[in-house]
Symmetry: C2
Subunit: 320 residues, 2 copies
């Protein structure tokens, strides 16, 4: 029987469960609505019945050796989801213990951005690296910081919040209640906000001026930039500049071998990575110049969450 793990990615709307082998291949996968279960115990039970179906679909020819869970506000130390504003479950949810009622295997939890970093380390471009950082550029900006081959959790379990480093005091309002945090500039949403500002600031023509404010998204800005739209190109350039500054500062802090970029906005590829790389190299302190690679994640975006969650527990099993 093949040893496999479960990777469970808990999202605000849907959650995805996959059976993942040691090489990161997803052998079977299904989705469960998170919103449908206001009581977390019911959600876990629903997951369990889906898991049984998934195992059956593989002729029960697998041995589950662990469960990895990526969830917003997941605390690695306690195995709890704590006050997650995007989930219906209020307060502190002992999610790993709930799964242990059904399975006698290690169950490991962390947040989505740390899971992405772990996926990179176990299955992706960071294999063999001891020091790297992974930026997840989606609606928000998450980060996972790896030090000496381990995810950095810090004293509280919540370390690695690069998206909430204040880049511009008094700047753009942030969902965290403060102002000027990186995620309001460097994420997909940040790009859109930058585009709005530039549409006000510049006089050049732009296709995007015809699009209602609320419908402007990073994909439309990407397409316009590809067609040479000057303001869209400037929006990418501004985004690259602030991402590069935050990366140069992160290098001064932890001196990683590489910084990986993952998630929706990372799909812009060279349009974002090329200028970011240029600004990063320009901005780095002399002692760090040439010491850090800026790389696109080697994990496919659609599989990253489940692979990352699975990698979490593979990492624990392999390090035993």
């Amino acid at each position: 029987m093949k040893e496999v793990t479960y990777g469970l990615d808990i999202g605000g709307t849907n959650s995805v469960i996959g059976i993942v082998d040691r090489k990161g291949h997803i052998l079977a996968e299904d989705t469960v609505s998170t919103r449908k279960f206001p009581v977390v115990e019911d959600f876990v039970e629903a997951c369990f019945s889906i898991m049984q179906k998934l195992e059956k679909s593989l002729n029960n020819n697998v041995k589950i050796v662990g469960i990895g869970i990526g969830a917003p506000d997941g605390n690695y130390y306690n195995g709890t989801i704590e006050y997650a504003p995007n989930l219906l479950w209020e307060g502190i949810i002992p999610i790993t213990n709930l799964f242990k009622r059904y399975f006698d295997v290690p169950v490991v939890l962390t947040n989505d951005a740390n899971a992405a970093a772990m996926g990179e380390m176990i299955f992706g471009g960071a294999r063999g690296m001891k020091h790297f950082i992974e930026y997840t550029l989606g609606t928000g900006l998450g980060s996972g910081i790896v030090i000496n081959g381990e995810i950095l959790y810090g004293h509280t379990g919540f370390a690695g919040e690069i998206g909430h480093i204040i880049m511009k005091p008094g700047g753009r309002d942030c969902g965290c209640g403060r102002q000027g945090c990186l995620e309001n500039y460097g994420s997909a949403t940040g790009l859109v906000r930058t585009m709005h500002e530039l549409l006000g600031k510049r006089r050049e023509k732009s296709k995007l001026r015809k699009i209602p404010c609320e419908e402007l998204d990073s994909k439309k800005i990407f397409d316009a930039a590809k067609e040479g739209d000057k303001i869209a190109l400037e929006a990418f350039d501004e985004t690259a500049k602030i991402l590069a500054l935050s990366m140069a500062n992160a290098v001064a802090f932890s001196s990683p071998e590489a910084i990986f970029v993952f998630g929706g906005l990372a799909n812009a590829g060279d349009l974002l990575l090329k200028p970011t790389r240029k600004y990063l190299e320009e901005t780095l302190q002399i002692i760090f110049k040439g010491t850090v690679k800026l790389l696109a994640s080697e994990i496919p975006e659609s599989k990253g969450a489940v692979m990352g969650a699975s990698a979490l527990v593979w990492n624990e099993i392999l390090n035993k």
Copy 2:
């Protein structure tokens, strides 16, 4: 025979050598001129003869179990001092190997700020802490970051350069060739530069207006602030604000249990610590509020360098 270590603090002008016991007591100490030895081998030989004298002064009743060295631009991984602009020795200096010619014990090197953090962990207020950061506020601003009970060195050995995190792009010129790094605002020199700016900006009277520009130092600003000088008080407040912002950002990164403040400017005590603590707590992201203590170092400033250097090697010996 009592087991002891050497702590050697290499400075640009003078170096200090001390014999330090397991509790951090300096049993004997002497100074050697660094400037007098343009050839590093001669410096090491001079250190060796001083060391013999120090042992003699203790009736040779000690057993040397290791040598810890704190030096500018010291690389822990390689045991080398690399291109230190403040030392006469050019290029890459294999300082630990040079000492190993004389001693058959572990020799450990790092930079001064990391040594200060190690001193705090082994002998000071950070005993028992797994995650903390130490700011050394002197002419410059150094930092040592402890993660899981270990100094963070990163991929290159040069991690922990919080003083060179860019807080104000395009801001004050920095010795590193860039602009706006924290050390130009948060160090003793930064305080003086802030005072200069405020003397230009404000119209209030101040004793310090009578002092020639070049003679203004942090001690004079401290004394004026103590006497209620409004502009001097504002300079401390500005310094506290930017230190607090950098600390809040560092907490988002590594979530330490405490941040310690050491060095000349830290002697300002509550005048600096009180407002910094207030701004830090205001600035922290909600999930980190109440999780991090801001503390004065428990290591006396005059002994910190030698104790820190010694702590480096005690740490290696104890963790064997």
